[in-house]
Symmetry: C2
Subunit: 501 residues, 2 copies
């Protein structure tokens, strides 16, 4: 969760001192960290270049001068970095190759370390933490809010965690442990504690006095939480209600008594859909006894959605969601072994299907050239069904009951398109090889493999989902196996029957 | 944009009257419209069943009774619907097959029509509008805020738009036309006008008086916009500043003078990343002269992100982002023709590559069985590179400069994995067919096709992006063509060289 929720240390936001700044300046500083990334890459490259010069020249005096220059550049870099939002620093670090990333990371002011770690993606965060010693990690973590510490804990060296927890206040420690007790993907794991709670039997005037005494309010909040004496959520009080109502009235009279709220064990993805659906900014989170335990912010939800946005794209082809674009070749290669091995096995199995029909291929060698067309069309049709199903599941549009309807519809689409384009392909085959029976085999095989592809394409994500797995994981690889092996078997089997080879 | 931004007609949110409601009740009513969808499907099915009974029995008296029952059920349905949030109604309509959707749509209270149209996905909205007459459409549109009308206009029958625009107030019409003037995917097209603007030279007290007189404030806002006499944005004033500061102070003294703001022509996707990065709730939108023209809300951004989340998954396999799961088979089949035809052509071309080597296959029929393995591994490796690149582009992590680095890295990964697993496959082939040269061909072909796959897998999305196209569009189909045709050519070409066939 971004650090902007830290009330006492509002991070330096990108500055816009002069309203007459040109377009490029404003965009660059305000919400286009790409510019900053380019800038830092240039500085780091220049530094590297000069270091290389130094090591080549071997002149002691030159060394001294160059190292002064290097030190000067380092302090210029540090100054530039300190002006950036922690999220932008994380973005820049993510965009740098490992060696430059490590050098820049050491130049980030220590007081921003915690915030930057939080903003970095999981894979990049690991490389940053690996670059820090115990003391630095402890200092970085202690700068953070308790919900943010909880986000960080799973990524810290495990022997360091007890020490970190024992260094916190009792309240913070309880909060950290409460967030840690909820499984990833639940609302409880995503919530924060950055909220102001008032009792429903207070008068507005009392609330206003309390707020003035309190000073800063949590950022990005538009309401106060209202509870009764047992800590049970009874409503929310919008700031506007404080502003527009008579200060003598009771909180319970002007509060909203039917807020949308979440339970700690609600699914974070469902919560995101609810935020989108009802246009929420923040919502109370309650426990099983409806007692207020935390807050879910649109910020955390948006972050969650953006992070998982392209996840399905990756897991479909057997990659995990969190890939560091700049991880080492060795690491990247290893992360792909499992599904590569699975793919090899499935491809080998499909190849054995062809092996069965080697006799037929020896007699009619055209079969070898035509069979990949059947497999390819099946693969594409099936992957379309897979993508539609994954999306429908993600948007909550598919359940057990309309799944049957969807399968029937996709089968209908495959039948229609298979008949149409299969006929085109059949005629083409007939013309090319002068064999009308081979053309007919082509048409029928195409229809059958497209039907198989639709059926299997919907069933794989549904089946994975029913097993409690990620519906996208490896779906494309499994699907391609079925449409390849199935396509070869259907086509070559039909051919050997019809052509008698 | 959700209707909750409509200040004078706050939609009926899901009610939670009794704090002791059971888990299922609360979740069902609050943020799980799946429950409601099931409920309505049952009611509609029951109604259908009874209508069928009526038409079978042909007894006049029975008819009368049954039609009374049907009417009663319709009014029960209408009552149930009226209690739902428009977003939930849209969700339910999206989850129903066309005939049930149409029946339920006619039961939705007319005063919710506009809000529901807005919340529905593009494809479903079309089917709903097709079910309405001109008067109904006009009434529905006129219920909406001007930015929401602008969202709706592109989906309305075009002859109806001038009539609709002329029925609006001058201010609303200007706002509608201003939003319409910005291209889809820009901040201008996504902004709303739901904001309160104050002058920087006012005292807080004046602002508070103004707010009390105004009554309701825009929902989901935590700040007022501050402008100077020329309408130029000079800052934002957080509600908390109104609450905690002395009312005698000037707005200019307590406002935040460096807010993150956007330009109307900024890219909506970049804005979403900025919202996520800086944890924004709402941000001012300015024109080229830095004059305040609108507001961008986290709500609109979240909606945009959720809607486009699985887009890449679909366009990769040649589907458009907005698919109605319940469109007719005919429509669905037609929507897939273009890329199906492209796929057929590419598959046919790959097949002709095999045709060149028919002589070799006739002599060594094992080649026919082995060549799909090369193609399959290449396809998977390439699709991984495609997915990584699409994701990197979407998250703004890839630019012209690190693209070279990424290509080199992916080539390295392919070389490492190709050498390792290609050797495994080579030995397996040797053992299976007892031909060491065939095994060597297998290994080398696998390495080469994986290198080709990595290179092309990164280049396709980058190239499409550079051409200003959707980087994902059809990428999987193009990639598979290259890895199929390339794989066949590499493997069969090598084989005919090495084995002399």
């Amino acid at each position: 969760m971004p650090v902007t929720s830290k009330p006492d240390a509002r991070p330096p936001r990108p500055q816009v001192e002069d309203p007459r700044l040109s377009r490029a300046d404003v965009a660059g500083r305000e919400h286009n960290p790409q510019e900053a990334l380019r800038h830092f890459r240039e500085l780091l490259d220049r530094q590297q270049l000069e270091e290389n010069l130094v090591s080549r020249q071997h002149s002691q005096r030159q060394d001294l001068v160059e190292s002064l220059v290097a030190r000067q550049q380092a302090s210029e870099l540090t100054r530039n970095i300190a002006r950036l939002h922690p999220a932008d620093i994380a973005f820049i670090l993510e965009g740098l190759p490992l060696d430059q990333r490590s050098r820049l990371w050491h130049l980030v002011p220590p007081e921003l370390d915690g915030a930057v770690l939080l903003e970095a993606s999981d894979a990049v965060r690991e490389t940053l933490i690996a670059d820090m010693d115990r003391g630095e990690i402890m200092d970085a973590a202690r700068q953070l809010d308790s919900d943010d510490i909880a986000d960080l804990v799973p990524h810290l060296p495990s022997d360091l965690v007890p020490e970190l927890l024992s260094s916190l206040s009792r309240e913070d420690r309880d909060q950290v442990q409460s967030v840690l007790s909820f499984p990833e993907g639940s609302v409880g794991a995503l919530m924060d504690f950055d909220m102001v709670t008032v009792r429903q039997d207070n008068r507005i005037e009392v609330v206003l006095r309390y707020l003035r005494r309190r000073g800063r309010l949590p950022q990005n909040t538009n309401k106060l939480m209202v509870v009764d004496e047992a800590g049970t959520l009874t409503g929310v009080l919008f700031f506007e209600s404080l502003l527009i109502h008579d200060t003598e009235r009771l909180v319970s009279e002007v509060m909203d008594t039917d807020p949308v709220y979440f339970r700690t064990d609600d699914d974070a993805h469902d919560a995101a859909l609810a935020f989108e659906r009802y246009g929420l900014v923040a919502a109370p989170v309650v426990n099983a006894h409806r007692q207020l335990v935390g807050r879910l912010s649109a910020e955390a939800v948006l972050e969650d959605v953006v992070e998982s946005a392209q996840q399905d794209l990756l897991s479909q082809v057997g990659l995990t969601g969190d890939q560091d674009l700049f991880s080492s070749i060795w690491e990247a290669a290893r992360s792909r072994w499992l599904w590569l091995a699975i793919n090899l096995m499935t491809a080998f199995a499909a190849s054995r299907v062809i092996g069965i029909f080697e006799g037929s291929i020896e007699k009619v060698v055209a079969l070898a050239a035509l069979m990949p067309i059947i497999a390819s069309i099946g693969g594409n049709t099936g992957n379309q069904a897979v993508a539609l199903t994954i999306r429908g599941l993600a948007l909550d549009q598919i359940d057990g009951r309309n799944a049957r309807y969807l399968i029937l519809k996709e089968l209908g689409v495959s039948l229609a398109n298979g008949a149409l384009w299969g006929s085109v392909m059949g005629v083409l085959t007939w013309l090319l090889y002068g064999d009308v029976h081979l053309g007919m085999v082509m048409t029928v095989a195409m229809v059958l493999n497209m039907l198989l592809a639709a059926l299997v394409g919907i069933s794989i994500p549904l089946g994975l989902g029913a097993l409690g797995r990620d519906p996208a994981m490896g779906s494309s690889i499994i699907l391609t196996f079925v449409t390849d092996a199935g396509g070869f078997f259907i086509f070559l089997g039909l051919a050997s029957l019809v052509l008698g080879v």
